[in-house]
């Protein structure tokens, strides 16, 4: 129970009363250091020193690793197949479970009174997205769907059906949106982008392979028809067996129905604008050509 006031507790109290520590009175715990086996020290001078009798083994001239004496080796006999072909061009999504999302909401790292965006998730240090490593965003996964109970307006890049059902069951709204590489980098790190002084670019539309996903109502794509989305919500409620809450009567209905335009990267900021953080101002272009370009 004699805990010393300084760090070190009992150990430092004991040390103070012992004689000076030097190499002469230190030794490791028995069994901590095992003496190594040295070759060439046995009876008769070690004889062959563990090298065998004559041949390549004793003379140190063995062939390369994988050589099988002339038989076609394993690594050449098996035919090639493109398992990893184009791996650096495949889109990847950082998974986000509903359990982790609920944890972030509970600790106050993600604000549910505003629409949840990838920027909000990154600011709350919930996910880390690396656009340079072929990440295209965040994938919402239904791990923890049974404990999830938060009403949110969330925008992700991919979502599983179970995750969509869990969010809508609690009266929330989920959308999937596409961000190209530049828009994604800006979305993840908006402050360095604003400091660079460039105008906010317009978000590009998805490529051919992703159009189908983002125009589908069952994925709640941002390019899909709102009526189809409504039908899909009813069907999903029937499939998963819950009553779909009516969000139009909700007090947060305005926040829940906020959506980004298909060319918009940030809520409230349009493409073409330049943000001046030092003077807390936003500069908007007035030239007609620029307006037509950014408005298209």
């Amino acid at each position: 129970m004699s805990a010393s006031k300084t760090t070190g507790g009992k150990a430092i109290d004991i040390l103070r009363n012992l004689p000076r520590i030097s190499l002469a009175n230190l030794r490791p715990n028995p069994g901590a250091r095992k003496t190594e086996r040295r070759r060439g020290r046995g009876a008769h001078g070690g004889n062959k020193s563990g090298r065998g009798h004559k041949g390549e083994r004793q003379r140190g001239n063995r062939p390369r690793l994988g050589f099988e004496g002339g038989q076609t080796p394993f690594y050449l006999a098996i035919p090639k197949y493109g398992y990893n072909e184009g791996h650096s061009l495949r889109p990847q999504y950082q998974p986000l479970s509903l359990r982790r999302l609920q944890y972030l909401i509970d600790l106050g790292r993600v604000d549910t009174s505003q629409p949840i965006d990838l920027t909000q998730l990154v600011n709350g240090r919930g996910v880390t997205v690396q656009p340079l490593k072929r990440d295209y965003g965040v994938h919402l996964v239904e791990e923890g769907a049974d404990i999830f109970s938060a009403k949110i307006n969330i925008e992700v890049q991919r979502a599983t059906e179970g995750a969509v059902a869990a969010i809508e069951r609690n009266g929330g709204v989920i959308t999937t949106g596409f961000y190209d590489f530049r828009s994604l980098t800006i979305l993840c790190k908006p402050v360095p982008f604003f400091l660079s002084g460039q105008p906010i670019p317009k978000r590009m539309l998805p490529g051919e392979d992703m159009v189908r996903y983002y125009t589908g109502a069952e994925n709640r794509g941002y390019l899909s028809d709102p009526e189809e989305v409504e039908r899909a919500r009813q069907e999903l409620a029937q499939k998963y067996g819950y009553v779909l809450p009516d969000i139009s009567k909700d007090e947060l209905f305005h926040m829940l129905s906020m959506r980004k335009d298909c060319r918009q990267i940030f809520f409230g900021l349009a493409p073409g604008w330049v943000v001046n953080m030092a003077e807390r101002k936003i500069l908007k272009p007035t030239d007609e050509k620029l307006l037509r370009y950014y408005g298209s």
Binding site: M1, A3, T7, G8, G9, K10, A11, I12, R99, Q102, Y103, I105, D106, L107, G108, R109, T119, V122, N123, G144, I147, S149, A150, V173, P190, V191, F194, P226, E227, E230, D246, I247, S248, H254, S257, M258, R259, K260, D261, R263, Q264, F266, F267, G268, L269, A270, W273, V274, V275, M277, E279, R280, K281, I282, L283, K284, P285, T286, D287, G295
Partner: protein
């Protein structure tokens, strides 16, 4: 029921301020200048700036849906104290070295560390039936236990009120 989405972006383009900026009047009449608009939309930029401080968790009635529980308001009357980590979690961590060596680390201990070690040993003896091997580091004020006991130790510490 049709949800009428609020497309913010479309309405933004209709508000085009035609007043010129303060600097343009001296130059030629043809000069186009960017219109400066402050504070109205700057609040959206403020929302995007990442916070520098870790936010304090909001109050919950009992455990939160994710299973997180705050430390009890009353400090438990024990000779030791286990603080929460920076992100308000219980500081029990598991480690796996050499592919097969499982240890549990209990950090951020203050006060009488040997009393805590005794209590931990008593508790784990009840659970497993054998006395766990423990290592007390008085300099870093942490306890390392052989085996993975993170879930059990976290619950045990939460029950104590840490």
């Amino acid at each position: 029921m049709r949800v009428n989405y609020v497309f913010q972006f479309c309405s933004l383009w209709r508000t085009r301020a035609t007043e010129s900026g303060p600097m343009a009047s001296s130059s030629t009449a043809e000069q186009k200048c960017a219109v400066v608009e402050s504070t109205e939309e700057y609040k959206y930029v403020e929302r995007l700036i990442p916070p520098t401080k870790i936010p304090t968790p909001p109050l919950h009635d009992g455990p939160a849906p994710s299973g997180w529980r705050p430390p009890s308001a009353v400090t438990p009357d024990l000779p030791y104290m286990v603080r929460r980590s920076r992100l308000h979690n219980v500081p029990v961590y598991t480690d796996l070295t050499h592919g097969n060596r499982k240890t549990t680390l209990l950090r951020k201990i203050e006060g009488d560390i040997w009393a805590l070690e005794n209590d931990v040993k008593e508790y784990l003896v009840q659970l497993t039936g054998k006395i766990p091997l423990t290592q007390v580091n008085e300099v870093t004020m942490s306890i390392r236990i052989k085996g993975h006991f993170d879930k059990e130790l976290k619950e045990w510490l939460l029950e104590k009120g840490f």
